[in-house]
Structures are given as structure tokens and as C-alpha cells.
């Protein structure tokens, strides 16, 4: 290097070394090539750059002046990342986030490489990353998050990690690398992760009344069973004290210390109110203005496939992604609030991203739909498995594993004034996106 060249730039950073820059360039080119081949997020560029430069994830994360926040848990990661990034944007930060399909080490690395400039910089202030439960330890070790948020641990894709306790262990391996940890104080397994930590632990939770309406793993099958508090109310940094639903909106009240903040959240579902509490708690842990963060919630919009209506061939359909029994139980209860007869198309796939084991369908309370005169279609690769589950719940349905045909019939049979619900698993949702291309206005998946 020439002696006259500056050692640091105007932000105090040393120049990006040639080798690192080469790897970033290679990664960026691979991202472009992967795009050209079709398909959104690809782990391949991440895989290649990780091989060539294992410490690149940490180096790129180090570019973020405001550090980063990682969000994990079985349910609500995507929505929570969106909420948190909205809150941070309102607070004046330029926020970098990743997508659902890129929440493992390589996918995240692909995202960072893609977002890096050709000079090897990341032009963002702070990162908010959703991280797959099994990837928390390697990601946290590399990026040293300012805050790690653990939303919940509900039965999800157990065939990948074996057991919930094992999933908790995998997460706990990553928590010591975080400066502060935000934990669900009402979830037994999650709250337990705090006991062995040296750093600050911030718990969020809900009032007794609201907790009764929330999913937890032990209460999955009984639903109504009262749960004892895991973390005492007085130790909650943030408590959700009110969640009144009106249509697709709800009015929240979040207690932070001795102050109660009102908030308007334009999304239904108590589980979304709970995600809001987790995000407020994270903002508190980051030392940000909580009141402003609560106000920011009014700008939330559902992510693609998470409860927002789309117009298809002149009829309105609501796409609602499901990933596990608790999620599907929530959807069923939300549907029950809509007047019958309802039109519902379930699309159940068993690809790796969905979880290959469809046993979970038997943990879902489909019996709640019995005797209501709804039109129910069971589709997807495992459509017949769902139809069988519905048969034993005494819910009449038609089975058609061919999603394209089932969707056409379903849309054709829907009247202009009716609202139809399409409830897919993850890869079935990707299939639906392809089927709906050109027939409906679709937002990007990660919007």
C-alpha cells in the first residue's frame, strides 16, 4: 500500500482488504447469476463465500454501526422482524433485514453480500435478522448481536431438530454471544433460557386474561387450560395488558415499567399483539424511545401470505400461511369469527421447508369446524392426508392434491361478494404465488 493512502476513512473504518473484497464480488456475481436462473433467495452464493472466507459474516455484520438484532422462535419471526424494522426506521435508522428463505447462516450471508456495495461496505445503520432456531448459535457467534429476541417455542418441524428441548438447547448455545437477551416470560422453555445467562435478560409477557388466549406448547391440545406464570408479573419488562380486536385491527396497551402505552396494530390475532410486545421489549433493551416505537405499530401491514386479501379473477381471497399446529389453530379460531358458510382451501405440502412429517395435522383442532356447513377443499402434496384428518373430525371436504386445479375450481366457485380463505404451508404458498402470477397483484414475499 502506498504510504500516503489513508488508514481509516471518514467513519473511522480501515479499508476493506483485497481478499475480502474479492470474495464479496464473487458472492455478488453469484447472487446475480442465481437470480437470472430464477428463484428468489439462494443459499449457494452464501455457501461459496462461507467456504472461501468463513469470517465474512462477522466482518460484514461489523460494518453495521448500530450493530444488529437477531430474532428467533418457532412462530412470528417474519412479522416481528417487520415490526422491529419499522420501529427502528421511525427512530431514524437505515435498517437492513433478511427474508424468511434466508434465515440460516448461508442465506443470511447471501443477503449481506448482495446488499454490500462493490467497495465492500454495508450502507445500513442497523441489522434486524430473523434466524432459524437451529442457526442461532453460529449466527450469534459471528455477528455478536446487541439484542437476541426469542419469541416462543411451539411445535414446529420437529423432524428437523428432533425435539423442542433440543431446539431450546440449540438456541441457548447462541445467547451468551448477545449483549442483551429478550425472552418470552410466559413460555416455559424460552423463559428457562435466561437462567444461565450472565448478561441482562428482558422478559416480555401478557396479562393473565390474555395469556389464556395465547398458544403455548403444553396447552396446545387443551387450549383453555389456565397456565401458571413462569416469570412473575413484576419481573416483566414489557407486559401486554390489552388486545381488543376490531375487524382486521386491534387496539393494544403495553405496559413498560410503570407506564402504559396505547398502540394501534392493523393486524388481527393475539399472537401478533404478542409479537408487538416482544418488539417493544427489544426497543427498550436497545435503549430506544418506547413510546415512539409503540406509535410506529400503526404503520404495520401484514407480510405476503399472512392475512392480507388479494384480488384474484375478480374475487377476494385471503392468504394465510401456516407452519404448525398452533398457527393453524389460531387461523381456525380467527376463521370462526367470520360468519359461516366459509370457503376454505387448505394446501398442505411436506417438502423439507414445510416439515416432511404431516403428523402435526392431528394436533390441530379441526373438530371446531365440524357441522358448520363450510366449503372445505383439501389440496397440496398431502391434500389427501388433510382430507382424512377432516373426515375423522367429521368435516366434509373435497380432496384434490393438484393445487393448480383445486385453486381454479375454488376461485371459480367463489361469488364476487364472498371472501375465500386459502391456507397454505410454506412451499404450498410458493406454489400459489406462481399460480397467481399474472392473475393478482402480488407484493414481494418479504415486504
Amino acid at each position: 500500500m502506498a504510504t500516503g493512502a489513508p488508514i481509516v476513512d471518514d467513519r473511522g473504518r480501515s479499508p476493506v482488504r483485497a481478499l475480502r473484497l474479492f470474495v464479496i464480488w464473487l458472492g455478488k456475481i453469484l447472487v446475480v447469476l442465481a437470480r437470472l436462473r430464477g428463484g428468489g433467495g439462494s443459499a449457494l452464493p452464501g455457501l461459496v463465500v462461507q467456504r472461501l472466507r468463513p469470517r465474512l459474516l462477522g466482518e460484514l455484520a461489523g460494518e453495521l454501526r448500530g450493530g444488529c438484532v437477531v430474532v428467533t422462535g418457532t412462530n412470528g419471526k417474519t412479522t416481528s422482524v417487520k415490526m422491529l424494522s419499522l420501529m427502528l426506521s421511525e427512530a431514524g435508522y437505515v435498517v437492513l433485514t433478511n427474508r424468511t428463505g434466508s434465515n440460516m447462516v448461508r442465506g443470511l450471508l447471501s443477503t449481506l453480500v448482495e446488499q454490500a456495495t462493490w467497495t465492500g461496505r454495508l450502507p445500513f445503520d442497523i441489522g434486524v435478522f430473523e434466524v432459524d432456531e437451529g442457526n442461532v448459535a453460529p449466527v450469534a457467534a459471528a455477528v455478536a448481536p446487541r439484542v437476541a429476541v426469542v419469541l416462543n417455542l411451539l411445535r414446529d418441524q420437529l423432524d428437523r431438530y428432533g425435539e423442542l428441548e433440543r431446539t431450546a438447547e440449540l438456541i441457548s448455545g447462541g445467547l451468551p454471544a448477545a449483549q442483551a437477551v429478550v425472552l418470552n416470560g410466559d413460555d416455559r422453555l424460552v423463559a428457562g433460557l435466561g437462567s444461565a445467562l450472565g448478561g441482562p435478560v428482558h422478559f416480555f409477557g401478557a396479562s393473565d386474561e390474555l395469556r389464556a388466549a395465547l398458544p403455548d406448547d403444553a396447552g396446545l391440545l387443551t387450549g383453555e387450560r389456565a397456565r401458571e406464570r413462569v416469570v412473575p408479573q413484576s419481573e416483566l419488562a414489557v407486559e401486554l395488558t390489552r388486545a381488543d380486536t376490531a375487524g382486521l385491527e386491534q387496539v393494544l396497551e403495553l405496559r413498560c415499567g410503570s407506564v402504559a402505552y396505547p398502540a394501534r396494530l392493523p393486524m388481527p390475532g393475539v399472537y401478533n399483539a404478542y409479537n408487538a410486545a416482544a418488539c417493544i421489549c427489544a426497543m427498550d433493551a436497545l435503549g430506544e424511545d418506547v413510546e415512539r416505537a409503540a406509535e410506529a405499530l400503526s404503520g404495520m401491514r401484514p407480510a405476503f401470505g399472512r392475512g392480507e386479501p388479494v384480488e384474484v379473477d375478480g374475487v377476494r381471497i385471503v392468504l394465510q400461511l401456516v407452519k404448525n399446529p398452533s398457527g393453524l389453530n389460531q387461523v381456525i379460531h380467527t376463521l370462526l369469527a367470520v360468519g359461516p358458510p366459509r370457503r376454505i382451501l387448505f394446501a398442505i405440502n411436506d417438502n423439507i421447508a414445510d416439515g416432511r412429517d404431516v403428523s402435526w395435522l392431528w394436533d390441530v383442532d379441526f373438530e371446531a369446524l365440524a357441522g358448520r356447513g363450510d366449503t372445505v377443499v383439501a389440496s397440496g402434496i398431502r391434500g389427501t392426508d388433510l382430507a382424512l384428518r377432516l373426515k375423522y373430525a367429521e368435516v366434509p371436504s373435497t380432496a384434490d392434491n393438484n393445487l393448480a386445479g383445486a385453486l381454479d375450481e375454488f376461485v371459480k366457485g367463489t361469488d364476487a361478494g364472498e371472501v375465500a380463505y386459502v391456507v397454505p404451508t410454506y412451499t404450498a404458498m410458493l406454489d400459489l404465488r406462481k399460480l397467481l402470477r399474472g392473475r393478482a397483484e402480488l407484493k414481494e414475499m418479504w415486504e
Partner: protein, 240 residues
Amino acid sequence: MRPRHLQIVHLYPDEMNIYGDRGNIITLVKRLEWRGITAGVQELRPGEDLDLDSTDIVFGGGGQDSGQIVVAGDLMTRRSQLEEAKADGVVMLTVCGSYQLLGMSYLAADGTELPGIGLLCVRTGSGRGRLIGNVEIDTPYGRMVGFENHGGRTQLEPGQEPLGRVVKGFGNNGRSGEEGAVSENVFGTYLHGPVLPRNPRFADELIGRALLRRYGDADLTGLDDSLERAAAATAGSRPR
């Protein structure tokens, strides 16, 4: 025909119910009801009283390690009662974790070997990695499909009959080609799915055996199982 009734006991539904195993109870109850036979289900929790004289079918599902530890001790206190029930012909279906506990020994989460209640002559040890995937087996009750997910490797003792032979998947240990175990009316298997809905012939075998024991005949009206067969065919077509 006189009214018939079967009484089912669901062992430890809180601790031992993962992978939708309660679907087996739903299947038994519905397949009885659809034939005009009433069914009662008692959920047995640790420490509660168990009346096996009035019981026709006992079911136990798979559990996580934490659940297995809690119930293992409780099950041991009922050992002689369950031995008598077996001798008396009570039908028992145990899946995964419950199957292991019914064996002669199994490996606890911390690696120590603990005695089981010995209703099935099997021993469960450990191995590298979990055995996970779609599984198909050939049994005297036809080809059966399911999904397995277990860390334990189960070996049959000499003379112990398996439930079936592995066609696809791992089975008891991934090597022997055997899946599950049967001894009189006691069945053990690693098949989740859950096992009974997509294998109606096996479900009816259990019901038939219980009716034969209680009422002296196993006369069952046929049911339309086309959806069951279609779901089994789909499962069979999926990769391991």
C-alpha cells in the same frame, strides 16, 4: 345386537403426545362410533388410579425426553398391573417413547440404561443421529405407512416377533430390517403419522381383538376406507 362399548386408556396424554399421536385415539373412537359401538376414553396422568378390569385398549404415544423421564417412574409402579392386563388379553398399542418404555431396558436422556416394564422383549440403546423419515413396513395386517423420528435403536431379543419387515425407512434400528414388536395383544412401533388413520386394517385388527376379548366375537361392519387408502398411497410415494 346388544349395545357394545369399548373402554380406552390414553397413557400420559400430556407428557407422551408429540407428532399427533392423539390421532390414534381419534381413529379408534371414530371407527367404533361409525359402527354403532360406543367408546370411552380415560386419560391417565401420573399418579392417577387405573382400573384395567374395565379397560379394553391401552394407548401410549411418543414423548420428548422430559416427558419420558416423568412417566417412566410412574409406569414402573404399575408394572405388575400391566403384566396382568397383558396376560388377560388387553390390547395395547405403544408408539415410539412408550414402545421403548414397554421394553426390557432403554437408554435415558443422560445416557444411563434404565429398566423398562418388560412387556415386550426388546432393548433400546443409542446410536449416532436420529432416524427420521417416511417408513413403510410389511405386516400380517398389510403394508403399513408412517413417519419415524427416533434417536433410540431397538433390538429384539431372540424369539421376540417384530410387527413387520421394513420396506422403506429405518425401522427398529436401521440395520435389522425389522420394525416394531408384537407379543400377544401388545404392540410396539416407531410409526407416527399417526399410525392408525392411514392403516385402517391395523386399526381394525386392534378393535377386533378388543371386541373378541370382551364380547366373544370380532364381527366388524366394513367401512369405506377409500380416503384412508389414498392417503396411504400418497405417503408411500413420498421420498424416504
